[in-house]
């Protein structure tokens, strides 16, 4: 009897060890905590609750109204930059948009690799770019009031205005799984405030309106709270007023090929999401996460899964790492693939430019 008990105990221990080893083995990326296979250390519900509060109090993403004579506008989409010591590819994306006069930028998550230094590098790149962007698109106006003089900066293309510190470069990211490991959400939310938001672009004060929805799928799920908010109509606008809807999230729905990672939405959630995208009359759904290109129509919605834009996957860059969507006044759109070609800089070069190159 004792021998049998010892045997069963040893088998149970073996089984437990196998399960633990499998948990670690099946984790797709070394930067994801093995414990995350079992349970995440950041909750999508908490992030979405915080996002909605921040969204209510901070002008994260303002509705934009373009002037009547604008015939088209464009925006750039990139994904999975996984910034570490060199945010060069992000800077390159921003510069390309500046040169082309893209109205705003969208990023599909996994912005940086969850170290405080890497988010500092990201912030530094965007802050440096802000000077160039403000110089090109804004004019200043000083208002005299009882508290003294306040200088506002006004973007005449969109009507956005604010003081310098509060004015935000129109860079709209969603959060990815690499942005939330090791409590990365604290850093991400400090910079970008929200993972669940929307804004609109209207072409003329009485013109057609396009809607941009950003949803949080960093954990591979939308989570109960976000689903309830969506079901309760948080993004429900008067449909007749909406012309195009563009949706941005991190986790892919479709799997580009058998050797890429599959979607991690569970079955009912997958069908819920596809159904909801159709309900929103979505024009394009943008996803990232798998670092591979996929473009397909499903249920009347165009689904684009983006390649990564980072130095590890593409050390020499590539012709098709970004997407530019140009929306015309008649509601049609054009999609172009856009290249990134910058090479990773040396540590000395980066150090001299003020970037952190020795992350702990």
């Amino acid at each position: 009897m004792e021998i049998t008990m010892k045997k069963s105990l040893s088998y149970s221990l073996m089984a437990a060890t196998t399960m633990l080893a499998a948990s670690v083995f099946f984790t797709s990326c070394e930067k994801v905590s093995p414990q995350g296979v079992l349970m995440g250390n950041t909750s999508v519900d908490d992030r979405v609750k915080q996002s909605l509060v921040n969204y209510s109090f901070i002008d994260v993403a303002l509705d934009k109204t373009l002037s009547e004579d604008v015939e088209e506008y464009s925006f750039l989409v990139g994904s999975d930059s996984h910034i570490t010591i060199d945010p060069g590819r992000l800077s390159e994306m921003l510069e390309i948009g500046l040169e082309h006069d893209d109205l705003f930028y969208c990023h599909l998550g996994d912005l940086a690799d969850t170290k405080a230094e890497y988010y500092h590098n990201t912030d530094l790149a965007i802050s440096e770019f802000k000077h160039k962007w403000m110089d090109k698109y804004t004019r200043s106006e000083t208002i005299h009031n009882s508290d003294g003089d306040v200088t506002y900066f006004i973007d005449d293309r969109t009507g956005d205005y604010d003081t310098w510190p509060r004015f935000r470069v129109p860079f709209y990211p969603v959060v990815g799984n690499h942005d939330i490991t090791h409590n990365g959400w604290a850093m991400f939310s400090d910079l970008f405030k929200t993972s669940f938001y929307e804004f609109t672009v209207q072409m003329g004060t009485d013109g057609p309106t396009d809607r941009f929805i950003f949803i949080d799928s960093a954990n591979g799920t939308l989570g109960e709270f976000q689903i309830d908010e969506i079901e309760n109509g948080v993004f429900q606008r008067d449909e007749k007023d909406i012309r195009n809807t563009f949706v941005f999230t991190h986790t892919n729905i479709f799997r580009p090929s058998y050797n890429e990672f599959a979607s991690t939405y569970c079955r009912e959630e997958l069908y819920f999401l596809l159904d909801k995208l159709a309900d929103w009359k979505t024009t394009i759904m943008f996803c990232g996460h798998v670092h591979a290109w996929d473009d397909r129509m499903f249920g009347g919605v165009r689904h684009i899964t983006m390649p990564s834009m980072n130095f590890v996957d593409h050390p020499n860059g590539g012709d098709d790492l970004l997407v530019r969507i140009t929306v015309k006044k008649d509601g049609t759109y054009k999609m172009d693939r856009v290249g990134l070609y910058s090479k990773q800089r040396s540590k000395d070069e980066l150090r001299n430019e003020g970037y952190h190159v020795d992350a702990k």
Binding site: T4, S8, Y11, S12, M14, A15, A16, T18, M19, A22, F26, T27, S28, C29, V32, S33, G36, V37, L38, M39, G40, N41, T42, S43, V44, D45, N177, I180, T181, A218, N219, G220, T221, G223, E224, I227, T251, F254, R255, S257, Y258, F261, A262, S263, T264, Y265, C266, R267, E268, E269, Y271, F272, L274, D275, A278, M297, F298, G299, G300
Partner: protein, 228 residues
């Protein structure tokens, strides 16, 4: 009878829990499932299975699933071939499953081929699934998906009662991609014909490559009856 007689003895020889016992060729099981899912909220449903053993090698299995609050139903048919390689019991199976998700007007068709390796205290399943779905007038078949599962028990399978731990990316009526179902299961055999079984599963979303979050918790309890 040999199987159940053996269960009272030390498990020196394991004849498998899913094999023909030499006497009862028919097996029916019915279970109640209840839990909570982030999409559908509280959920409750029933499943029923019928299995017929032709002999010690071949069996067929049919099942139906009706989930009331999830508003879904499904059917499945499975054929299985049992053989032995040294002391391993192997079960090669082919399965077809159909699910209808009424809430999303989605029809799902799944084909699966798997092989299960069993010993007295554990089993491992490996295979592949093809999952296709139709909704909104479109069809998509996902690229071949790995099917995997592992199960370990505290007592040998021939024992009258048992408690086990499992993880797998499938359940009776779904095959997932990378999402793992973690569970604790048990059974108690009243006699050679009647058996009580149950399972408590935690099904997180986003495991494997992403930090897992709550998706579904499910409890299942049922009975199995065997007859000639």
């Amino acid at each position: 009878m040999l199987l159940f007689s053996a269960s009272t003895a030390v498990a020196q020889y394991y004849s498998g829990d899913h094999t023909f016992d030499g006497e009862n060729k028919n097996e029916i099981s019915a279970s109640l499932t209840t839990g909570k899912n982030i999409i559908t909220g509280p959920c409750i449903g029933n499943t029923v299975h019928y299995k017929h053993y032709f002999n010690n090698h071949w069996s067929i299995d049919g099942g139906a699933n009706l989930q009331y609050t999830k508003q879904m139903y499904g059917f499945k048919a499975k054929a299985e071939y049992h053989f032995k390689v040294k002391s391993f019991h192997m079960f090669a199976s082919g399965e077809y499953m159909y699910n209808h998700y009424h809430r999303f007007n989605t029809n799902e068709n799944v084909g699966n081929m798997s092989i299960r390796f069993e010993r007295g205290y554990w089993d491992i399943t490996l295979g592949g699934s093809l999952i296709g779905y139709n909704m909104m007038g479109d069809h998509y078949t996902e690229p071949l998906t790995l099917t995997f599962g592992a199960h370990a028990t505290l007592r040998p399978r021939t024992n009258r009662w048992n408690v086990g731990l499992l993880f797998r990316n499938y359940d009776d009526f779904y095959y997932e991609n990378w999402n793992i179902n973690w569970g604790l299961d048990f059974y108690y055999r009243f006699n050679p014909r009647w058996k009580l079984f149950g399972e408590f599963d935690i099904r997180p979303a986003g495991s494997m490559s992403q930090l897992a979050s709550k998706y579904e918790t499910i409890g299942k309890v049922g009975v199995i009856y065997r007859w000639k």
